[in-house]
Symmetry: C2
Subunit: 139 residues, 2 copies
């Protein structure tokens, strides 16, 4: 456990934003200005292997990281890519695969929709054409 790892883990733990690698890099960079992207990715990979964090794929633009490794589901805003944890216990039974035999190891439900912030943004840009946001660096 190096200081950098502590910093990343601390940043993640309790964080509900499901940050991307870039978010983490930027946030930690304030405390460790010399830290490199490679270290962030290395550390995230290590933490993932250790089962401390989970990688999420529900943001089409980048991978996101969830500090809660326990199984739970998510709601995703398809406009701003905000990801919110679901505390609901949703019980689903494994699928009946007839042709394919999979060893099922887990499951993940993602609900998608529009968050309240984006919805109000939408209505404020009245009749204008919805702008298709492409550049996502700003996250």
């Amino acid at each position: 456990m190096t200081p950098q790892r502590m910093a990343i883990l601390n940043y993640l733990k309790g964080n509900l934003e499901h940050p991307s690698a870039e978010d983490i890099y930027k946030a930690i960079g304030k405390k460790f200005p010399t830290m490199s992207f490679a270290t962030v990715y290395n550390t995230l990979e290590t933490l993932k292997q250790m089962g401390q964090i989970r990688e999420l794929y529900c943001d089409p633009y980048k991978k996101r990281f969830d500090p809660n490794p326990n199984p739970h589901h998510h709601v995703v805003c398809t406009q701003c890519q905000k990801i919110v944890d679901l505390q609901d216990e949703i019980r689903i039974k494994p699928p009946t695969l007839t042709t394919e035999k999979f060893e099922i190891l887990g499951s993940h439900i993602e609900f998608y929709g529009i968050c309240s912030k984006c919805k109000s943004k939408n209505s404020s840009s009245r009749k204008e054409e919805t702008i298709y946001v492409k550049n996502r660096t700003g996250s």
Copy 2:
């Protein structure tokens, strides 16, 4: 509807592999050797807008495309990224969001696990360390 679009749509329709843009590019390239990646992405975007296909994010390495726009769920092999449709009707009720108010528009369940092919591959490489495959170009 240009020939290129027809070709892409034809390739997708009935395809159960959930191909990536690259898969599509390569496959169509046999019939349209001059077609460019840009056209593939353009077309896929257009088809998506038209509601003819769906974009899947459950492959961590690249986006995958599903010719079936009707709501259904998937099983994903975490080793080879094979994606299989689920025909099971799974009814889940929308989550109870207390703090966040989302307008829920849909949901997607992904089961993940190991497909039979990968499982037999695993056992054949007996006690050896599992190789962590990084280069995914070959898909």
